[in-house]
Symmetry: C2
Subunit: 298 residues, 2 copies
């Protein structure tokens, strides 16, 4: 079973990696650095969890995964933009990301800010491009744009990022921490699943099942991130560990302890899988992916 | 004639100002500062040139301007995001904007970066919202998203911004300067006109006329901006003047001289108006707006 996941994962990651660059418009005549920075951050590693979930969700509802590739890549553009901006000195001030120096360290702050802006914009350009997703009815395409935009904006990722910054060096409650995680990470992971389902032509019940799965798995993903920051190994992770503790950042391990955090993650995983019963056997890749997300070492 | 423009301008600016805030989603429970910063920058003055052009274009093709209001506001979100990010220390490092301290001076860099990100994202969220533009066929809505995203991204505004930063303290050719202006300002102005035309149900020839008008008027707008930076008065402008010269920034006046720059602007205005002949009398508001753009004092 683990081998089956590895195979599917590799295949999907390969499909996404192939297109991440080719979907980008070419650099402008007098503007090449931002394009270089975008490609640097896009192709500098990354597990492609959001794109893979998008493709898997498309398949789970009976669609052809390849039709969801543009949306999958758009999701990775948005995720990558968020990493570039989060790493900036004014925000998390991280020098390393995905095993290489972070975008602003390599290209300077101005270029990094613009590269993030451009990735976010190109996500929506890709989602609305005429030649893309052309087999898909127009109405679900608008729904996909709406899902993704809402997950990334002031009701989603940006809100999570702000709450996270505000929480630094403060005693925060579990409620606040949950808010941070659900918005900062969970929203876009959920949007990945829902948009895959919409592109695959999923019925309303299926879409809602994917949404529930996304919410649970998104929180489990972030708890795992917190755990890795405590227990993970920097050389495997490609970024520093122990940084949360140094920043006195609230995390699940600091609030609940290691053991209870792991138990909560397992519980969420269980609930996530339960939401997929509607798909029967077709849920298998998503269930495996959930397990992978909570057992990963990077 | 000038009075007619003043009246239309005030009416359209009023319609836009009313909705700029109300179209935004409410702030998150634990994330209020970014929302505040967005509203601060959105409502802190501004001539609403892009939204007004969008509404006028909609009317010129026979549509009801009110149907273009969401797109008009989305364009202002994108314009405002670009100002917030451009003002950051890593980019232009401007302390004043639209007569008030710039966003990062008021709220800090982290919040300003996130406010820009959120405005950009909410533009696309607004354009794809179910309850918005619902009278419009879905296909033109996708086209509008595509036009605006392309104008804002790596083939448009971001490319212009990069080329502008690269050009600082360098001797640049007129070709490069034109590239900067056409991308940094012209692209979004053109997209404003084209999207208004698409929402109003314009025919292909009408859309292309609006596109030509946008390109000419966009460049004229930027030449005027350069001229105001030399000749304008800081207290009227709400921001410092003479900053281009201090930064040894290439501008039309430095490359062509004041007189020739003015002549070029007039020439562009003439060509812009010629493109509108297809609209007959209906072109009047746009022609007046073009004249206003080139005679404004702020």
């Amino acid at each position: 079973m683990a081998d089956l996941l590895t195979k599917t994962l590799k295949k999907y990651q390969g499909l996404v990696d192939e297109r991440l660059k080719s979907y980008l418009p070419p650099p402008g005549k007098y503007a090449r650095q931002v394009h270089k920075a975008m490609v640097y951050s896009l192709l500098g590693g990354g597990k492609r969890i959001r794109p893979v979930l998008c493709l898997m969700a498309c398949k789970a509802v009976g669609g052809r995964p390849v039709t969801a590739l543009p949306a999958a890549c758009a999701l990775e553009y948005i995720h990558t933009y968020s990493l570039i901006h989060d790493d900036l000195p004014a925000l998390d001030n991280d020098d390393y990301r995905r095993g290489q120096v972070s975008c602003h360290k390599k290209f300077g702050e101005a270029t990094a800010i613009l590269a993030g802006d451009a990735l976010l914009t190109e996500a929506f350009s890709l989602l609305s491009r005429k030649t893309i997703l052309s087999g898909l009815a127009v109405q679900p395409r608008l729904q996909v744009i709406q899902e993704i935009a809402r997950a990334a904006g002031i009701q989603g990722m940006v809100a999570g990022q702000e709450a996270d910054l505000t929480a630094e060096n403060k005693n925060v409650s579990l409620g606040v921490l949950r808010y941070i995680h659900e918005h900062k990470t969970g929203a876009l992971i959920t949007a990945s699943l829902v948009s895959g389902g919409l592109i695959g032509g999923g019925r309303r019940g299926e879409i809602e099942a994917l949404r529930t799965f996304g919410r649970k798995i998104g929180l489990a993903f972030q708890i795992k991130d917190d755990l890795l920051n405590v227990e993970g190994q920097a050389q495997i992770m490609g970024k520093k560990t122990g940084t949360d503790a140094k920043r006195a950042k609230a995390t699940y391990p600091t609030l609940l302890g290691l053991d209870q955090s792991k138990m909560l993650g397992q519980e969420l995983l269980f609930e996530a899988n339960r939401a997929l019963r509607i798909f029967g056997q077709k849920a298998l890749p998503l269930i495996q992916m959930g397990t992978y997300i909570f057992s990963r070492e990077t």
